[in-house]
Symmetry: C2
Subunit: 481 residues, 2 copies
């Protein structure tokens, strides 16, 4: 918000990726650390990106028949304990309210680390008959998980997310819905975030605490590490049994419901930064850019400035009428610092208009993703901009996919595995043993990101990368955020 930031340089990615990330978050004014340990302040520009994500995802969920609702922030401590794996997974990281209204509470309240337990207690009363199914609920909410090492957007004590929770009459239907949502996430990542992802299944040790099976999408960041960008859990009847979510089927028999839960969070903003950002700062895919076009009027005299600003307003009005998000930067600053600032903020297209351009009936357009400069005719500016935004989306996606392909290696032995792990996704055979998985993690910090749903490679699994036994699957290993 103050002018001082404009002078600071962004650390080069190659020099220190982690510093680069922090610099981009800071200088693009996306978020900052708050005085409360581990909690972030999401600044207006960062929040505007989140709003665009919300709007797009919300429409996709509603198209599936999902309804939004809101459940309490607090969970009675005993609820969390009812599903054995769930409490084991979440108890160590909860924040606990022990006092309220000036008194000690009889039973402590946990600040929700996720809402399965509080929702399913309620669902047990909402669901009575097969006619009440499927029950398809989503909530946009804040979540608290006490994290020791935090990083803005990627891992914070409090974050924002959506969590979908459904109940179905059959296992097949629940399984199918879990996959439908995974596909919503995949398509959102690809067609909105311009980020290729690998849809897959988590190993037993990486699945959600309480789930039967966790599906996920995994994206590669600019340093070759993985980011889990969304999860969709098949919960089976685990929670239904713990909370009594039962229904009478068409024959009058009482049955437990089959459930799913699924979510994406503000960590997607971290993913966006690391999937596309460069040494000049943020690079936003057009569909998530608060401003898709920034117009910089250029003139030396007040008369010139007035004329170009009026022209800029006319062009902006035309673009806005066609649904393009446009900002005209009329601040009393030289063009240079303005270019620099909007580059850092990742605005897809910069338009420059000066007196000469006006005389020629043209506008200078500069793409953020390629730095390519071209003269556009005012007459067909709207179509040209729409095309350009589409091209930028495709280019960002293609670049990210090419990068991932260039940084995905198949290895046949553990030495190559260790040698190639840094900066790469590793395709390797795995015998299915949790011991092998744990040892690899302990020795290399690599985790099994997923068992891909579609083979990434035509060959079969071969041997387990660690123990050399017959592999049951070919999996993706990587270091991850």
């Amino acid at each position: 918000m103050s002018d001082k930031k404009e002078q600071k340089a962004i650390t080069a990615r190659a020099k220190d990726y982690s510093e680069w990330y922090q610099d981009v978050v800071d200088q693009a004014e996306l978020a900052e650390h708050s005085p409360v340990r581990g909690c972030m302040v999401i600044k207006p520009y960062g929040y505007a990106i989140w709003e665009l994500m919300q709007k797009d995802l919300d429409a996709r969920f509603k198209a599936k028949g999902v309804q939004n609702a809101y459940f309490p922030l607090f969970i009675p401590e005993n609820f969390l304990k009812r599903e054995a794996q769930h409490v084991e997974g979440f108890a160590p990281e909860v924040a606990v309210v022990t006092h309220a209204g000036g008194q000690k509470l009889d039973e402590p309240l946990v600040v929700r680390p996720t809402s399965e337990t509080i929702m399913y207690d309620v669902f047990s009363r909402w669901v009575q008959s097969y006619r009440d199914l499927p029950l398809l609920i989503n909530q946009w909410a804040n979540i608290v998980r006490w994290e020791m090492r935090t990083r803005l957007f990627l891992r914070t004590t409090e974050f924002l997310w959506q969590e979908g929770h459904t109940v179905h009459a059959s296992e097949e239907e629940a399984e199918d819905f879990t996959k439908q949502i995974l596909d919503v996430y995949r398509d959102f990542a690809e067609s909105v975030m311009a980020t290729p992802v690998i849809p897959g299944v988590k190993s037993e040790s990486e699945k959600f605490a309480g789930a039967v099976r966790t599906y996920c999408i995994e994206a590669m960041m600019g340093d070759g590490k993985a980011l889990q960008a969304g999860t969709s859990h098949m919960l089976g009847q685990n929670f239904a049994k713990a909370f009594g979510v039962k229904f009478q089927d068409e024959t009058g028999t009482e049955q437990y419901g089959w459930q799913t839960s699924w979510g994406v969070s503000t960590r997607l903003i971290g993913g966006l930064i690391m999937a596309h950002g460069d040494d000049k700062g943020l690079v936003l895919p057009p569909k998530l850019a608060p401003y898709q076009v920034v117009i910089i009027p250029i003139g030396t005299t007040p008369e010139e400035l007035e004329a170009v600003q009026s022209k800029a307003q006319g062009l902006a009005d035309g673009l806005i009428a066609e649904g393009v998000r446009v900002k005209i930067d009329t601040r009393d600053l030289r063009p240079g610092p303005k270019f620099f600032e909007w580059e850092k903020k990742g605005v897809p297209v910069r338009l420059e208009i000066g007196p000469k351009d006006m005389a020629n009936g043209t506008v200078v357009a500069v793409r953020r993703d390629t730095a390519e400069k071209q003269n556009l005719s005012e007459a067909d500016l709207i179509d040209a901009i729409k095309d350009m935004l589409e091209q930028i989306h495709v280019n960002l996606y293609d670049k990210a996919l090419a990068f991932r392909q260039a940084h995905t290696v198949k290895v046949a032995d553990y030495d190559s595995f260790k040698a190639q792990l840094e900066g790469n996704f590793i395709l390797a055979g795995w015998c299915g043993s949790a011991d092998c998985e744990a040892t690899v993690k302990a020795e290399t910090k690599a985790t099994i990101r997923c068992l891909p749903l579609d083979p990434l490679d035509q060959s079969s699994g071969g041997k387990c990368i660690y123990c050399g036994q017959e592999a049951t699957d070919q999996v993706v290993f990587a270091k991850a955020y």
Copy 2:
């Protein structure tokens, strides 16, 4: 969600207003009590109303240049204590996190009861120069205030709201912005909620803890009680001094910022219920109705049903294309229970289509607000429905205004005051003494709702209703939610 509810009757308002309210909330499926004391579950139909409120208000704030952001749920206990009046007002009702991540915290964290303190600590770093002003921030968030006696939507331990927080370079500008927002709230109440409100100023004892002045809008509910429907606070420099929100003005002199904060919450849904509801249930103003039109296809044979349903779909598509929110109820239920259910849920217009209507090229339309039935020609259905929705809005507003006028009495002495208090707004003179105000409240439970900004009555204040001294103002007294 289950069929059982359809049989229950709604308590008549005249019999027990409080029971009636609870029945409407329950049977219109708006919200329910959760297992966590004082916290509510907002059900999909209630949440859909909140989403419509959010969408409308959010656009109004953005049109004023306000940007959304997000600040932490938790506030360090010492922050709350920095503004003396503020801590006095809020400390008794906060929930406190004392343990997290398995350990006792060094400093307890308060769950936000409002965000002035956490935000202004951050603002003190964002604001450096007059060029950073005005800073106009809004947040949509959950809030926790430990309440002893709760009522769904009206008073709950956790609720949802928006809170706007701004910093300005001058007192005049802050004061002006406070009033601009009050006017946004007034216009929203009138033109969206179809609810007349009295804009006014709170007395010293009723103002926000830490504000210089609190502006409010007060609405009359169906039992003649008042509901504070929105507040806009002029904070002066109170918080700026406590948190060091300072800027260099154009002459280079350091000055404290002038601040405002303002909010409306999910209690507006309670206001909506009580402003318009009747003995049949909820009555929704069209602009906040999740479904503005429900279509009930009627037929006795499967062939008939198929034909009317197909016709209904065609009509619905036409309405939806024109921006009308439409639901076709094709459930396997008799028409009677469907009528009953959508009446309870307050849907503004019900359309019935049977084989005879189809043959005549007509549709039967029934207005929820008047129960008036009319045949509409299919040919100009869209215009007729749009007109009808507009008429319903106007009728609801006019009815609520007439009701308030009929239940607003001017009194000159304390005996009449006490005799007429039940079910009315009382206009009376007040000397400005907090003692008189407190005594009236203790003796009658009536509070000064506001000092109206525009006189409700041409006469001047006269004498104080309690002490008989010269009145400084004519004020509105009422019992309130």
